[in-house]
Subunit: 160 residues, 2 copies
Amino acid sequence: MKLTKDWIVGFVDGEGCFHVSINQKKDLKNGFQVLPEFVIVQHKRDIKVLYAIKKFFGFGIVKKNHDDRWCYVVRKLEHLEKICDFFTKNPLKTIKNVNFIKFRKVINKIKRKDHLTVDGLVEIIDIVNSMNTQKREKLIELKKQLLCGEERGPGAKDKI
Amino acid sequence: MKLTKDWIVGFVDGEGCFHVSINQKKDLKNGFQVLPEFVIVQHKRDIKVLYAIKKFFGFGIVKKNHDDRWCYVVRKLEHLEKICDFFTKNPLKTIKNVNFIKFRKVINKIKRKDHLTVDGLVEIIDIVNSMNTQKREKLIELKKQLLCGEERGPGAKDKI
């Protein structure tokens, strides 16, 4: 199956997701882990399309998501930078482009290691908070913890 | 907003729907109405994309669907034929193409007025029944009524 740039843009306008999760991890230096990912979820009957997308980009993995859903996922920073380059040169047409631009900001901040400082992490939380797929209450709570230096329990690993 | 053929194919692979509804209508000659439609539903924040798609094809309408959802809809037979021509020349990449091919068969049958005969209508019901978005039990019931000549109540207008 041969895919074109424009098909990829159209399909991602419909089915793609730019997601950033922030996890509390006490074993990490600043207690937080920032995990950006680009995901396309499909029913298993369309697994061939996911592999064709993987082939198109030349990176990422195809894996089971849940039940009969499979997904194409990109998580490595160097590959996410390439995803950002692609959607900068080939812009999304839907409002999803606004989310993508915020996602790209997060990627750039991670690249500059801003996420390893409290200020940088607070900025990232604010960006993620403005993306429309996030659980805001938990992010606000995390930000409060960061800014107030509130103690984090040893088992604190809430994924937000 | 300028859309390309490949973007349209990618977006429809994700978001498009080829749908055929069959209604019982006692005022029609054979008691049944076959209504095929091509639909793309989006959140109202992406209404501009729906208008761009309308402009791309040069027909169809954009209207409110429900709540904050809007849709681009094509229902006129001559326009649905053009939709079929487009997706024949520019094939969908996902398994949705299988549904499209069945949809095209229905359009061709309607064009030949097959839906006005019992045999033709039964064939259409069988095709629609094999499309994966339909309510099978109701279609099987309709087919039984058609083949057995079961009496239809005066208020029978079940949309399937």
